[in-house]
C-alpha cells in the first residue's frame, strides 16, 4: 500500500547553499504507541511536523455488514468488538436501537443493571485511557497502577457475565443475567477502595510539572471547532462544551440519577488542550463512582429481561439512537425491513471524528506532541474502522 494516495508534495527548499527537504515518515501500523492499528504519514521538518495524515482501515472488519447476516439477537457479541475497550455501552446502543424499533420496554431492574455495567465499563475504559496516555508521555508507572485497578473491575464483571473484555452481557429487552448474590457488597467495597485512588493518581502524575508541561497548551481545540468536527464525549467536554448524552438526551434510568458533567476549563493552559481532555476523564471516573453507588442503593427487584421473541422481527422503520460511551456519543442508525435480519446498521463513533481532526491539529506540532494528541483524544482503532 505504501504511499499510494498520499502523494505529498515534498518541498525542497534551497536557502542559500543548503538544500533541505521534508522528511516523510510512516508512523505505524506497527508501533508501540498508536492506540490500535493506526497509521500516520508524517511529513516533518526534523522534529516539527508539517502535517500528519491518518491512514485508517487496518482494523476494518465489516461489522456493519455482518449485522445484516447474523440477525438481531446474533449481532450482540459483535457489538462488543466495535469498541472492545468499553464494550458495555456498545451492547446498550444496539439493544436500545432494537427496542426502540419494536417498542419493547426493559424492566427497571434490567435498566439498573445496564447502567451499573456501563458505568463500570466507563471507569474501565478511562483507566486504560489515562494509563496509556501517561505511558505514552513516558511515565510507565501510572499505567501499571491503572491496569491493577482494571483487574478488579475485570473480576467483578467476570462474576456477572463471565467475560473480562467482550461481555455480551446485554440482550434485546434487558440483560442476560441478574447480579449474583453478594456482588453488590463486593462492588461497593471496590468503589470505596477506588475513589481515594483517583486522588493518589492525581498526586502521582496529573499535576506533575513535566506531565503538565507536555500537555498544557498542546493542540487546543476551540468549542466551535469541536462541534464542527463532530468531537464527542470527553474530547468535546474538554473543550468546554457541557454536553452529555446521559443528561441532555436522556435514556435508560439516567433521569433518576444525580451526577455532574465535568468540563475542561483551561485551568493549566489553554481551553481544550490535551490536559483538559485528560483531566475531564479523571473527573468522569469520580462521577461514574457516584452513579454506581446510587444505582446499587436504588436497585429495585424484579426481572432483568423482558419477553422478546426468539425470532425477533421489529416492524419496518429506522431509528437513530445515541448512548454515552466512554469515548462519547455513540450513534446507532438502524434500519429494519420487518425481517429477522437488520437491513442496515451504521455505527457512528467518537474516535472516527477525533482522528479526522488530527490532520488539522498536527500543523506545527512536534512529533512528541502528536503522540500526546493521539493519546488525549483517546483513539481506539476498532471504533474508527469497525
Amino acid at each position: 500500500m505504501g504511499l499510494a494516495g498520499f502523494e505529498v508534495e515534498v518541498q525542497r527548499e534551497t536557502d542559500g547553499v543548503l538544500a533541505t527537504e521534508d522528511m516523510t515518515l510512516s508512523m505505524g501500523p506497527q508501533h508501540p504507541s498508536t492506540h490500535g492499528v493506526l497509521r500516520f504519514v508524517v511529513r516533518a521538518d526534523g522534529e516539527v511536523m508539517k502535517e500528519a495524515i491518518p491512514d485508517i482501515g487496518y482494523l476494518h472488519r465489516s461489522i456493519e455488514k455482518i449485522a445484516e447476516k447474523v440477525g438481531w439477537h446474533g449481532f450482540m457479541p459483535y457489538t462488543d468488538r466495535v469498541d472492545y475497550v468499553a464494550a458495555m455501552p456498545c451492547n446498550q446502543g444496539w439493544a436500545m436501537a432494537a427496542e426502540r424499533l419494536a417498542g419493547i420496554e426493559v424492566p427497571k431492574r434490567g435498566e439498573y443493571c445496564r447502567v451499573i455495567a456501563t458505568e463500570f465499563s466507563r471507569i474501565h475504559s478511562h483507566l486504560l485511557s489515562v494509563g496509556s496516555m501517561a505511558m505514552d508521555i513516558g511515565a510507565t508507572t501510572p499505567f501499571t497502577h491503572a491496569i491493577r485497578e482494571r483487574e478488579y473491575i475485570n473480576d467483578l464483571i467476570e462474576e456477572v457475565c463471565g467475560a473480562r473484555l467482550t461481555f455480551n452481557y446485554m440482550r434485546i429487552g434487558g440483560v442476560a443475567w441478574d447480579l449474583p448474590p453478594a456482588w453488590r457488597e463486593k462492588a461497593l467495597a471496590y468503589i470505596d477502595r477506588f475513589e481515594p485512588l483517583i486522588d493518589e493518581y492525581d498526586r502521582l502524575i496529573s499535576y506533575n510539572k513535566i506531565y503538565v508541561e507536555r500537555l498544557a497548551g498542546v493542540a487546543p481545540i476551540t468549542p466551535e471547532d469541536a462541534i464542527a468536527w463532530n468531537l464527542v464525549g470527553p474530547n468535546l467536554r474538554g473543550s468546554g462544551v457541557r454536553f452529555d448524552v446521559r443528561r441532555d438526551e436522556p435514556y435508560s434510568v439516567y433521569p433518576e440519577l444525580e451526577f455532574d458533567v465535568p468540563v475542561g476549563r483551561g485551568e493549566l493552559g489553554t481551553l481544550g488542550d490535551c490536559f483538559d481532555r485528560y483531566i475531564v476523564r479523571m473527573r468522569e471516573m469520580r462521577e461514574s463512582c457516584r452513579i454506581i453507588r446510587q444505582c446499587l442503593r436504588q436497585l429495585p427487584g424484579g426481572a432483568v429481561l423482558a419477553k422478546v421473541p426468539r425470532n425477533f422481527k421489529p416492524p419496518a422503520g429506522d431509528c437513530y439512537v445515541r448512548v454515552e460511551s466512554a469515548r462519547g456519543d455513540m450513534g446507532w442508525y438502524v434500519v429494519s425491513d420487518g425481517t429477522s435480519f437488520p437491513y442496515r446498521v451504521k455505527i457512528r463513533t467518537g474516535s472516527f471524528a477525533a482522528i479526522s481532526m488530527i490532520q488539522k491539529l498536527s500543523k506545527n506540532l512536534m512529533i512528541a506532541d502528536l503522540i500526546a494528541v493521539i493519546a488525549s483524544l483517546d483513539l481506539v482503532a476498532p471504533e474508527i474502522d469497525r
Binding site: G138, A139, P180, A182
Partner: protein
Amino acid sequence: MQQLVDSLFSGPPPVPLWLCYLAAMLLFGGIVVFGFVLPMAGTTTWVERRIAGRIQSRLGPNRTGPAGFLQWLADGIKSVLKEDIVPTHADARLFKLAPYVVMSGFVLAFVAIPFGGPLIIADLNVGILYVTAVTSLVVVGILMAGWSSNNKWSLLGGIRSAAQIVSYEIPAGLSIFPIVMLTGALSMQSIIAGQGWQPWSWNLFYSPFTFVAFFVFFVSALAEGNRTPFDLPEAESELVMGAFTEYSGIRNLLFFMAEWGNLYVIGAIVTTLFLGGGHIPGEARLADAPLLRVPLQFVAFFLKSYLWVIVAIWLRWTLPRIRVDQMMVMCWKYLVPIAFVNLIGTALWMVFFPPALEPVVRALLTAATVLLLVGFVRRIRFHLRHARLRRMDLSFNPLSTASVPR
C-alpha cells in the same frame, strides 16, 4: 598501581619495565572490566527490574534464581545465542561498529574511575577531564547506530540523542569546574584527598554554590546517559528504541550494558567530586593494615555510588519524559546560566569568604540537608498511609453454585 608494579620487583626486572606496566594495566583492566564492570552492569539490570516492579505494584523477575537474580545471566545468554540480523540496506560496517564505539566510550571511563582508597587503574593527572572526554565517545557511537540503521526513526533518535548529550556536556563540565577550582587539581585521587569521611567535610557542603553544582551535575549526567526524564532519544512510545531499534542479540546487549553501566559511572563521579569518595572513619589508624582498610574503603565508595544508581532508577520509573525543545530550553536557558553563576560564585567565595566561617557554612548546609531528608521520609510515610491499599480478593469461584447463570 604504578607503585604496586614497582614493589613487585626488588631489582631490575627480567623484561623491560614498560612491558611490565603494560601487562599490569591489561591485567587490571581485564579484572575491572570482566570482574566488576560487566557483572555490575548486569546486576544493575536486575536491581532496576525489581525496583521498577515494586514501584509499579508488581513483582519483577522472580523465577530465575532467588528473587530472579539470575535473570540477567539468562538474558545475556539468550542475547548471545540470537540470530545476527543486519538490516538489508543498512550500512553494515558502521552498523556493526557502533556498539563497540559506545562500549569503548563507556569502558574507557573506568581507567580513571577510583574504586575507593588506593584502588584505581591509573590516577591520571587529568583524571576528571579524561573521564568527561571519553564518555563523549558514545555520541559518535549513537550517531553511527542511528544513521547506519537505514531507518528514519532511528535517525531521529540518533540525532536527538546527539543533540542532547552534546548540549548537556556544557552544564556538566561547568559544574565540575567549581570542584576543580576548590581542589586545585584534576586528578581523581587528589579530589578525594581534599575531602574527609565526615559528611560536612565533603565538597558538597563547602558552599551553597557547590551544593547547587551537585544538582546541576546530576541532572546533566542523567541527560547525558539518556535516562528518563531525558530519554526522548529512546522514547519507547515513539521510536521503539530510538537509535537502537534495529539492533538485536549481542549488539543490543552491548548498548544496554553501556547504558546501565553508565549509571554507575555517574554515581562514581558524583561520589568522587561531591561526596568524599571512599573515606572511612578511622582511616589514619588503619594506614598500616591495607587488607582491612582497602575493602572497607571499596565498600564505602561502592555504596555511595550505587545510591545514585538507585536514585536514577527511581526517577526513571516515576517521572514522564520531557520533550526535545523543553529539554533544550532547560539546558541552555536554565542549567547553563546556573552553572556559570556557580562557577563565578565559587571563585568569589574562595577568594572573599573568610576561612574562619567555613565550618559554620558546612555545618549549616549539612543540617539543612539532614532536615530535608527527614521531611522527605515523613512525606513518604504520609503518602503510604494515605494510600490505604489493602489487598482485595474479588475473584469468584467458577465452581460455586451460588450464582448459576440462567
